[in-house]
């Protein structure tokens, strides 16, 4: 179980401490106001990196789930859980910041015709149910397998939801990254990339801290069993 090594918390901690405040500074004092959306566009530097970090965490959770089913090492199950958990926490942030931006920029809190937010909502509902499944099964092999299978199924759900949620007649979700590159000034792009790196470091930090906690808890259970003279 310890074979995979301890995830570092120092590096992501330092990176988040630098990059997250730097994003705020850059967003408010360096980049100009967006021509079209004005000041409200500033939330872009928070909302989009959080959303991408959330997708990254769900992806990480699914990859670890596949590795668990393959290798049967409980460590991968813990990592998969931590990935889905962090993804859901960040997903909550996405669903909170999204409507704020939508209200400021589109005039509505929620737009059912938009593809990205609705896919995200489906995915969020889906991964919320992961916790219900996980914690209503007893600790052990069965819970780990069921959680891993469920986390993996999300991989099928994401592309299918993207296909299924209809492109509305009005394509109002800002599409800044097109095949011809990023449609924004360099200062916006740099700030966005700093924000993305900051959010990913913060995500990595949260995940490694949680993983350490989970490992310690698992070890504690082992020791308690040993102390009672039971076989682990």
């Amino acid at each position: 179980m310890r074979a995979l090594g301890r995830p570092s918390t120092t590096v992501p901690l330092i990176l988040s401490l630098i990059l997250v405040p730097l994003t705020v500074v850059l967003a408010f004092w360096w980049t100009g106001d967006d021509v079209d959306q004005g000041f409200s566009q500033k939330i872009f530097y928070l909302h989009v990196p959080v959303a991408l970090a959330s997708y990254a965490a769900f992806g990480y959770g699914a990859v670890c789930a596949a590795l668990y089913l393959w290798r049967r090492d409980p460590e991968w199950d813990l990592r998969s859980y931590v990935g889905v958990h962090s993804g859901t926490i960040f997903g909550t942030l996405v669903l909170l910041t999204g409507p704020i931006w939508a209200k400021a920029s589109w005039g509505v809190w929620w737009n059912w015709g938009d593809r990205q937010i609705n896919v995200f909502l489906i995915l969020f509902l889906y991964y919320c149910a992961y916790f219900m499944l996980r914690f209503s099964l007893d600790e052990g092999e069965r819970r780990r397998s069921a959680s891993a299978v469920y986390a993996l199924l999300g991989v099928g759900l994401i592309p299918l939801s993207f296909l299924a949620v209809r492109i509305a007649e009005t394509l109002i979700h800002p599409t800044v990254f097109t095949s011809s590159g990023a449609a924004m000034p360099d200062s916006f792009l740099v700030t966005f990339l700093v924000g993305l790196a900051g959010m990913l470091s913060l995500m990595a930090l949260l995940m490694s801290v949680e993983l350490r906690g989970k490992r310690a808890a698992a070890r504690l259970v082992e020791y308690q069993r040993a102390a009672r003279g039971e076989d682990a």
Binding site: L69, I122, L123, L125, Y126, C128, A129, M132, L133, S136, L137, D138, E141, R142, S145, A146, A148, V149, Y150, L152, L153, V155, G156, L157, L160, S161, L163, A164, V165, R166, I167
Partner: protein, 224 residues
């Protein structure tokens, strides 16, 4: 692999024919759901074809979940599941056999419910039956595959009855979207947004994707 699955599906269908505890409940449930959604939308006040399509698909999905709650009930009650797991058959066959039985139940319910829905909402005209039936069959396959998978995952969970709908419903949202779009198309409505494959092609794709995913993970289902 296919043989044991068919045998298991047959057992479930025979059991259902004798006990009549699932399909009959599903029929009553689908009727009640259609009536409730109808009044919730005040569809009498001219909500039109789109409301009728939505009613049908919402009712089908919720009814399917009701049926899924009983999908492994017979096995779980008499401890037959342990024997089944000890039998020299693939886990995939157990899952596939149960999915086949679920598919059968859904079709049986729809054979009654869809004509009634049609009579209630379309005295004249109505959708083109061929694409509607195709969409229903493809959707039933998807719901049965995914739903049985979720039921197998939830097996042995403490909160199984409340857990299963929570697991299944987000997974079948794409089915509802495609099914409703296909029904609109059956009314002669343009558009859709499913690109060149259309909603029916999408439903087939959904079935294939989850068939592959479920097959690949089936040995980890149903516990040890």
């Amino acid at each position: 692999m296919i043989g044991p699955a068919l045998a298991l599906a047959r057992v479930k269908l025979v059991l259902e024919l004798r006990r009549r505890e699932v399909v009959f409940a599903m029929l009553l449930f689908v009727a009640a759901t259609i009536v409730i959604v109808h009044f919730a939308l005040r569809a009498d006040a001219g909500a039109g074809e789109r409301a009728a399509a939505g009613m049908l698909w919402a009712a089908i999905v919720f009814t399917a979940v009701l049926g899924l709650l009983r999908s492994f009930a017979a096995e779980a009650e008499a401890g037959a599941l342990d024997a089944l797991l000890l039998a020299p058959v693939d886990r995939a066959s157990i899952w596939l056999g149960t999915a086949l039985a679920q598919f059968g139940f859904l079709v049986a319910v729809e054979v009654v419910a869809v004509p009634v829905w049609w009579l209630l909402f379309f005295q004249e005209g109505g959708p083109d039956p061929v694409p509607l039936i195709a969409a229903l069959v493809l959707a039933d396959v998807g719901i049965a595959l995914v739903g049985t998978l979720a039921a197998a995952l939830a097996l042995g969970a403490r909160t199984r009855d409340v857990l299963l709908p929570v697991l299944v419903l987000p997974l079948v949202i794409p089915i509802v979207l495609a099914g409703v779009t296909a029904t609109y198309a059956a009314f002669g409505e343009e558009g859709g947004g499913f690109g060149p494959i259309g909603p029916l092609g999408f439903l087939a794709l959904y079935d294939l994707v989850f068939l592959a995913l479920a097959w690949g993970t089936s040995e980890h289902l149903l516990g040890d």
